[in-house]
Symmetry: C2
Subunit: 201 residues, 2 copies
């Protein structure tokens, strides 16, 4: 698979951080997805949003549309996800997301995902194979030591070389041990809980 090369990583590289809002697990309904455009780890440039089905299969498609339909798309250089699973077990296929958007994808987890537990949970859901495929497409899990005593983060990538991904994570993690775009996407999505619940149908 092709990989987007980064000759240098500018301090003000435009990145998109994506996280989901709170939702009721195992209930049909929609969850809010928030995308935050950041200039490096420095300042916020924009916000976008979409909705996906709880435990559904539409995360990759909906997130890709949100991005390519955004006026920010031409300026973005990389997508960062808070892990692979959104709104329960609606799993993003990062290889497909890279293909659909033309943007490299870096999925970052603060805790080591327990793959066996996830696979067990998938047993109870329809289209198990499709979900497993999306998880496999995310490739190997890279363990990254982060500054200070804050331990490790766990990274999976698509469309980007490992060393470039790590450089981008380093440059954009200004305030904490995760990229600012992801930290802020989490705060915004969590802060809009009530809105999300209003959206459920």
């Amino acid at each position: 698979m092709d990989v987007t090369r980064f000759r240098t990583v500018k301090r003000e590289i435009r990145v998109l951080g994506i996280d989901d809002g709170v939702f009721t697990p195992q209930k049909k309904g929609k969850a809010l997805i928030i995308g935050v455009v950041y200039r490096g780890g420095l300042w916020l440039d924009g916000v976008m949003h979409t909705q996906i089905q709880v435990d559904g299969l539409d995360a990759t498609e909906k997130i890709a549309s949100m991005i390519v339909n955004s006026p920010h798309h031409p300026q973005l250089r990389v997508i960062m996800l808070n892990g692979l699973t959104f709104a329960g077990f609606n799993i993003v296929d990062i290889k497909k997301l890279y293909k659909k958007t033309g943007l490299p994808v870096i999925a970052i987890s603060r805790e080591k995902p327990n793959l066996n537990e996830i696979k067990k949970a998938l047993e109870n859901l329809p289209y198990k194979d499709k979900r497993l495929k999306a998880m496999e497409n995310a490739g190997k899990m890279i363990e990254v030591s982060v500054k200070g005593s804050e331990g490790k983060i766990y990274v999976q990538i698509a469309g980007i070389a490992e060393k470039d991904a790590l450089k981008i994570i380093r440059v954009t993690s200004t305030r904490s041990h995760i990229p600012e775009a992801l930290r802020v996407a989490h705060i915004i999505a969590s802060g809009l809980t009530h809105l999300k619940s209003n959206l459920k149908q």
Copy 2:
């Protein structure tokens, strides 16, 4: 009226910036209000939200409840508003907001509000006197020159000395000529347009 004194203004002073989302003018319905907690002009610490009636009278009450019910309330030092009018002509009485929250209020407009035009518009709305009173309570309009060639901003204050308000504006305007909390509240509220319209009843 009492005034909260600021012996020093810390670079990381916790401020709340408030703006409204897009709404359909002159139609009954609700508009989204977003509050963004910032550490000075440096980084985002939290997000809160409420809804107010388009052209209603509930802006002061709803914004005060949003703030005092937020876990951020005890840490906040000052409230910043994008002007006085939200969701059309739902006017915030900044003196009352100061009393209800215990926090000084700084209302900032990027363009000089045309008071005559606002007063004319109020003629067509119920409770005109109440709205006019809220506008009068905001006191004199302070014209402030901002750095660079970006001209002026227009400031009204409650519960704070003019020199302290100007110092806080200066410290928190890191990225542009308005405080970062207000710049970001505007981006988030605008970016959630569609959510807001879903909320309308």
